[in-house]
């Protein structure tokens, strides 16, 4: 079938749509696994029922997300071969290894121990049960490491040589692939952003329940206790992870200025090399002419971001593109990524990430329990906290209501930030699929027609849209009522070898 659309375009749309979608669930799964593990540990160690209720409540939301993350991940692995067979042949020797390791080491961990965790409440001693969720959390982190190592190879190929006979990339050093600076910084950046994302979700949903309780809605004190401890924990996680995201983001930018000057120049709409280079706040550009029409800038700030001083030159788009054209042939335009998407993706990533951090920092201060707080304003652990500006000054009702609303909204911020981050970093690498080694246009499957790809894109988009509605509906259904405080922990600690009587009890959990 001959259609007036390039195969590369359809394949890229599918990869973009399915990856951004997959990555809505991934960071939530990574971070909620850790948060749930922390809450269950608190329950096992203290025996306080509020931690048990919190564990169960966030555990349910975690599982609803994890299911989507797991199943959409299968396609991620398959589509390299389906739509990008030329890419797969070219880099399989290098790129396949971390993928196989991810499956063998991380996915088996995750999938096996999550089964034990879900169904094991009445089968495993509680310490062992708690260990299962920690192993799941470890699995998610390892999985992130391997797949980001594979992605980092595409951003900055290392540890390989080009085989003179086949012309393909061959692995020469697996340690470099797994531990190059790009991988390390990206892993740190992605994991901290993931924890910011999950923590923001917990902040948002806890804030919803505490705000309701604060307005005098009829609510169970035990529920409030579970939400309150969740809020405080998630605010701390969000602030720590948010700071980590910012620091690693800064480090990553410096690495990128060195390894992918084009991506960073595009992120800043810096057309010409400048010394010192300004940081762009807002610009409206003419891509055809290669210049900005409107530019609002902070002088020398970009030099500081790239090199840590206020005078270093930063390479511009035009010069970098001309250099690439000289090296690889073709014209200057061939080497310029989509400036609009790269520029705004970069900005929106930072905006949403930092907005999440700012709200969390403010929340951490406003809901503090004791620090610089007059005893009269302290609240019990089963009461919603007052929002305290200073030792004695409480936020007025209007501002307080809006603060809680902003806190609820925050749950969407890092999710948006993650999406923009990936759109930025993947589109900013174009026209390359593997930087300076293979072009995206050369990576597609030569034997798969564009018609078949459109069928695939349409079918997957339709399926994903339906599942998005289903999953969002379930999240709301399970988030809105709050923890089920009627649920009690097992009366006695289960043993691995139960008596016949105990063993034949109804299952604690069943599909």
């Amino acid at each position: 079938m001959e259609l007036a659309v390039a195969q590369e375009t359809v394949a890229r749309w599918q990869f973009g749509v399915t990856t951004v979608y997959h990555f809505l669930f991934v960071p939530l799964s990574i971070s909620l696994a850790g948060i749930v593990a922390a809450l269950e540990t608190a329950w096992v160690r203290t025996g306080k029922v509020k931690y048990f209720h919190a564990t169960k409540f966030w555990g349910k939301l975690f599982l609803i997300n994890l299911a989507m993350g797991v199943v959409t991940g299968i396609l991620q692995e398959f589509q390299f071969g389906m739509n990008w067979s030329a890419y797969s042949r070219f880099v399989g020797d290098v790129f396949g290894a971390p993928l196989a390791m991810e499956a063998l080491i991380a996915f088996f961990f995750e999938s096996t121990f999550i089964g034990l965790w879900i169904f094991g409440w009445d089968r495993l001693p509680k310490r062992l049960h708690c260990a299962c969720i920690w192993i799941v959390a470890l699995g998610t982190v390892l999985s992130a490491w391997f797949i980001l190592a594979a992605n980092s190879f595409m951003q900055h190929p290392v540890g390989y040589r080009i085989d003179p006979v086949s012309g393909r990339a061959q692995l020469t050093d697996i340690w470099q692939v797994l531990f190059q600076d790009t991988t390390l910084v990206v892993v740190f950046h992605t994991l901290t952003a993931a924890f910011l994302t999950g923590a923001a979700l917990v902040v948002g949903i806890s804030a919803y329940h505490l705000a309701r309780a604060g307005r005098g809605a009829e609510t169970d004190g035990r529920k409030t206790a579970a939400m309150r401890v969740s809020l405080r924990l998630s605010l701390v996680v969000a602030v720590v992870a948010g700071l980590g995201t910012a620091l690693s983001g800064d480090r990553l930018a410096k690495v990128m200025f060195e390894q992918q000057p084009m991506k960073m120049a595009a992120a800043e709409a810096l057309w010409d090399t400048e010394a010192p280079a300004p940081f762009s706040i807002l610009s409206v550009g003419d891509v055809g002419e290669g210049r900005n029409l409107v530019a609002l800038e902070i002088p020398a700030a970009l030099s500081f971001l790239a090199e840590g001083d206020f005078s270093s030159p930063v390479a511009g788009i035009n010069d970098t593109a001309e250099e690439q054209a000289r090296e690889f042939g073709g014209s200057r335009e061939d080497y310029i990524p989509d400036i609009f998407m790269t520029y705004w993706g970069f900005r929106l990533m930072i905006f949403f990430g930092m907005a999440g951090l700012a709200v969390a920092a403010a929340g951490l201060w406003l809901t503090r329990k004791r620090f610089w707080l007059h005893p009269a304003h302290r609240t019990g652990e089963d009461e919603p906290p007052h929002l305290m500006l200073t030792r004695n000054v409480r936020m007025n009702a209007f501002l307080s209501r809006w603060s809680w609303r902003v806190a609820v909204l925050t749950l969407a911020f890092p999710l948006a930030g993650n999406s923009f981050g990936w759109i930025f970093t993947e589109m900013g690498r174009q026209p390359w699929v593997v930087l300076d080694l293979q072009r995206t246009a050369d990576a597609v499957s030569p034997d798969v027609g564009v018609g078949r790809q459109i069928v695939s894109l349409a079918a997957l988009s339709a399926l994903y849209a339906v599942l998005a509605v289903v999953e969002a509906g379930l999240m709301v259904k399970y988030a809105r009522p709050g923890p089920d405080v009627g649920e009690r922990p097992p009366a006695k600690d289960p043993t691995l070898r139960p008596s016949d009587e105990d063993g034949d009890q109804p299952l604690a959990f069943a599909y």
């Binding site: 609803i64 299911a67 989507m68 797991v70 199943v71 299968i74 396609l75 692995e77 398959f78 390299f80 071969g81 389906m82 739509n83 067979s85 030329a86 797969s88 042949r89 880099v91 399989g92 020797d93 790129f95 396949g96 290894a97 196989a100 499956a103 063998l104 080491i105 996915f107 088996f108 999938s111 096996t112 121990f113 089964g115 034990l116 879900i118 169904f119 094991g120 089968r123 495993l124 085989d163 061959q170 692995l171 499957s445 030569p446 034997d447 798969v448 078949r452 695939s456 079918a459 997957l460 599942l467 379930l474 259904k477 691995l496 009890q505 109804p506 299952l507 604690a508 069943a510 599909y511």
Partner: protein, 334 residues
């Protein structure tokens, strides 16, 4: 033996392990119809026999595909782009199936639950059928051109031999699932599973014989004849043991049937990985589809270190959830 040959064996083991483990998962999914279940609670009994383990079983396919990618990039690239539409359907089925297990009980409505139950049945039937089609084509050979790419159409993939392969794989999974159900349930379902096994088994045996003899005639060799005999002997043995009430052994032998069947396919395939029907010079072989020796060495070390752990903790899961499930042990719907 070269490392590439070792990796051919390992990949064959991963795929075979996948069909052994998810084989009974698929079977259980199909059996939640009136074949074995007569009520909503009985459907839940069946689904919960695989509840804690299906996800771990499914990771075998992800590992098999990932290992193929790493060890034989050309095999992975040719296979996944050639079998495009069947694989797209497989992926969509696996997506829906996983979500169906997790989400079915998350809302109380009858319509909601029935919809997901139907999804489990259909996806559990379509997926093994399509895998059978894919593997049959791979063994028989497809129109691979000089550029290692598939030159044929998607319709050709549904030729007689491949469709027989598809139905055989599906039937094997259902038999294997019946043996698993007899082993893991109690009460009426267990009895029903034991009565159902010979009926299903007889039909499956005929298909299996036809498919494997066709395979043997097309691309067989001495080794594949050996596993063919094992496969065709293990299935009746499984049925016999099931009649005797030796459910554990019946399950082992139905598993052996699955293993021997896929072993036959891989032995018939070796030393090629993707034979070409256009020109045998264009066939992909183990030797020329393999990654470099460095990658294979790294992967061998990783596999040697981690596979024993995986087998150990996955087996432990089956031990933890070793109790039979009956209607009495299903908690009230929530």
């Amino acid at each position: 033996m070269h490392l590439a040959d070792l990796w051919f064996i390992l990949i064959a083991l991963l795929w075979t392990g996948y069909f052994f483990l998810e084989g009974f998962d698929f079977g259980i999914g199909v059996l939640t119809t009136r074949l074995l279940a007569r009520s909503g609670t009985e459907r839940r009994v069946l689904i919960n026999t695989i509840g804690p383990v299906w996800d771990g079983n499914e990771v075998w396919v992800i590992t098999a595909a990932g290992a193929t990618f790493a060890a034989f990039p050309d095999w992975y690239a040719t296979m996944f782009s050639a079998f495009y539409l069947p694989l797209l359907a497989v992926v969509m089925c696996l997506i829906v199936r996983g979500v169906a297990f997790e989400y079915r009980a998350k809302r109380p409505g009858a319509r909601w639950q029935r919809s997901w139950e139907r999804a489990v049945v259909w996806t559990s039937a379509i997926t093994p059928f399509l895998w059978g089609v894919i593997f049959a084509n791979m063994v028989r050979g497809i129109a691979i051109d000089a550029g290692k790419s598939y030159a044929g159409g998607q319709g050709e993939l549904f030729n007689g031999y491949a469709v027989l392969g598809g139905f055989t794989t599906l039937a094997l999974c259902v038999c294997h699932g019946t043996a698993f159900a007899a082993l893991k349930t109690d009460g009426e379902i267990r009895e029903r599973a034991r009565r159902l096994a010979p009926v299903l088994g007889a039909g499956t045996l005929l298909m299996l014989l036809a498919f494997l003899l066709w395979t043997q005639a097309g691309s067989g060799n001495g080794r594949s004849l050996g596993t063919l005999v094992v496969a065709c002997a293990a299935l009746p043995a499984a049925l016999f043991l099931s009649r005797l009430g030796r459910e554990g052994w019946a399950f082992v032998l139905s598993g052996l049937t699955v293993v021997a069947t896929f072993a036959t396919l891989f032995l018939a395939l070796y030393p090629e990985v993707m034979p070409s029907t256009l020109d045998s010079d264009w066939s992909l072989t183990v030797a020329d589809a393999a990654s470099g020796s460095y990658t294979l060495t790294v992967m061998t070390v990783i596999a040697a270190v981690f596979t024993p752990f995986v087998l150990l903790y996955q087996s432990w899961t089956y031990w933890v959830f070793r109790r039979r499930i009956s209607v009495d042990r299903i908690p009230a719907a929530h």
